[in-house]
Symmetry: C2
Subunit: 271 residues, 2 copies
């Protein structure tokens, strides 16, 4: 697989950064991740909006403007001849002379991976809750310390993902947003101190025409009364959650509200 | 300058990591930093203790044992012919096949920089306080997002460093520990949820034989009554603080207690 670093395409083996890069020195950088279907990026403008917003929030300069970056993405898709894929755009603090302050020029890395989304509507997962608030919640930073550190804990419990709450206020999963269905059949998702996902945005935009749907400050107590739940992300679209902290939801199968939303959303994305 | 990556010495220009490294992908890694004086590492065992402890806390394997790592450090010092220096040992999550889970093998990088410690006892700095708690406080992780992000704010205020407090509980600076002298001439330093510095440890060990000294839960209110203050680190030894959030301490000059401690500590380290 070929990789774009700044203005040059490299083979995977040659795709390297010097160790003075601020990601290696201090974990400093942001990224975004989008998918292509049939060689066409899905929700590209939303991902670029968020990429540039994350960069700005973290005080990182992007040398490439939107059209240059878009050209780079398409060039890479052509070069890799990979049409069903995930594309990651990473922006780091650059080669910092003092190993601490942001460099004048960031490094931008575009990678592509073979990826076909799971459209099996029967699949569901179990999740565990964990008290943690992401720093710089509205920027997609490289900081996944807690998520990675928690992986063995999660696996030992037999769970598939983690739902962060901040002292009882529901937030998000490390790489996905969280939705629940309450007793009134309303589909609710956390409102504050989260990374607002592109899939989440489109579910809210599209879904609210067809379902009772809202962004709200949700609590662990709301969670205990959830009838159904699901998570959303670029790689998962809508993925049902049927177990939370050991409690089974909707008899261990995707619930009726989630199922109906999934079918509608699938048509919305894939036509 | 030469760089040691895993078992191989590279020139600075050739010192690279592949972009699949988990530091670049997810900011995941730890490090330690020590100094050499006359070619001899100072407090080496303390730094190795902390390095292996940080690695263990973050679930990272270190292929090299202590004696292999020590041999590597000395080989690098010989190769670089740099006897007054700072040495950084970085350990990352390695080349992760899925870009998320820790790889079976970490990458270890040892770099050396030209560095002579400032032993001018007249120098002092101003600091600003900021409400923030480091994650994984007792591990020296790569997470410096907040510290780097705050640099322009700090510079605009004319300050030289940042003192974190967690909702009023004093913690530490991003790269140093904090000490204050109270109205009873006791030298106090924060006790909990901090990275316990090697210099801090030796100040406490040595200093308590000569001064009234204690680790304690300190608050922003204690700070407002501080007569003197200083920070400690490997690169700074003891550095007086004479301004906190705009308030001048000890008439803008290093105070008498700090001055006496600095002289004693300098003899302790350099003989």
């Amino acid at each position: 697989m070929f990789v774009l670093i700044n203005d040059t395409i490299f083979s995977e083996e040659e795709a390297t950064l010097k160790i003075t890069d601020l990601a290696i020195q201090r974990g400093y950088g942001i990224f975004d991740f989008l998918k292509t279907v049939g060689g066409k990026p899905i929700f590209l403008e939303d991902h670029l909006d968020r990429f540039y917003s994350s960069a700005e929030q973290m005080r990182l300069n992007v040398k490439q403007n939107r059209s240059q970056l878009t050209e780079g993405l398409y060039a890479l898709i052509e070069k890799n001849k990979l049409f069903e894929s995930g594309i990651r755009i990473t922006l780091t603090g650059g080669y910092s002379p003092d190993g601490f302050n942001i460099a004048a020029e960031s490094n931008i890395i575009v990678t592509q991976v073979d990826f076909v989304i799971n459209r099996n509507f029967e699949k569901s997962i179990g999740i565990m809750t964990y008290d943690y608030q992401r720093q710089f919640a509205s920027a997609k930073t490289l900081d996944y310390l807690k998520a990675i550190w928690l992986q063995p804990v999660m696996k030992e419990r037999g769970d598939d993902d983690i739902l962060y709450h901040d002292n009882g206020m529901l937030r998000e999963c490390p790489r996905a947003n969280f939705f629940m269905v309450n007793e009134k059949n309303e589909i609710l998702t956390s409102k504050s101190n989260i990374l607002k996902g592109v899939t989440r945005k489109h579910i809210l935009k599209f879904g609210s025409q067809n379902f009772k749907m809202d962004e709200r400050e949700l609590t662990m107590d709301d969670l205990r009364h959830a009838k159904e739940a699901f998570i959303s992300s670029t790689t998962k679209n809508i993925l049902p959650v049927t177990r939370i902290d050991g409690r089974t939801l909707s008899e261990g199968k995707p619930g009726p509200v989630t199922g109906a939303l999934m079918e509608e959303f699938d048509r919305y994305v894939y036509g």
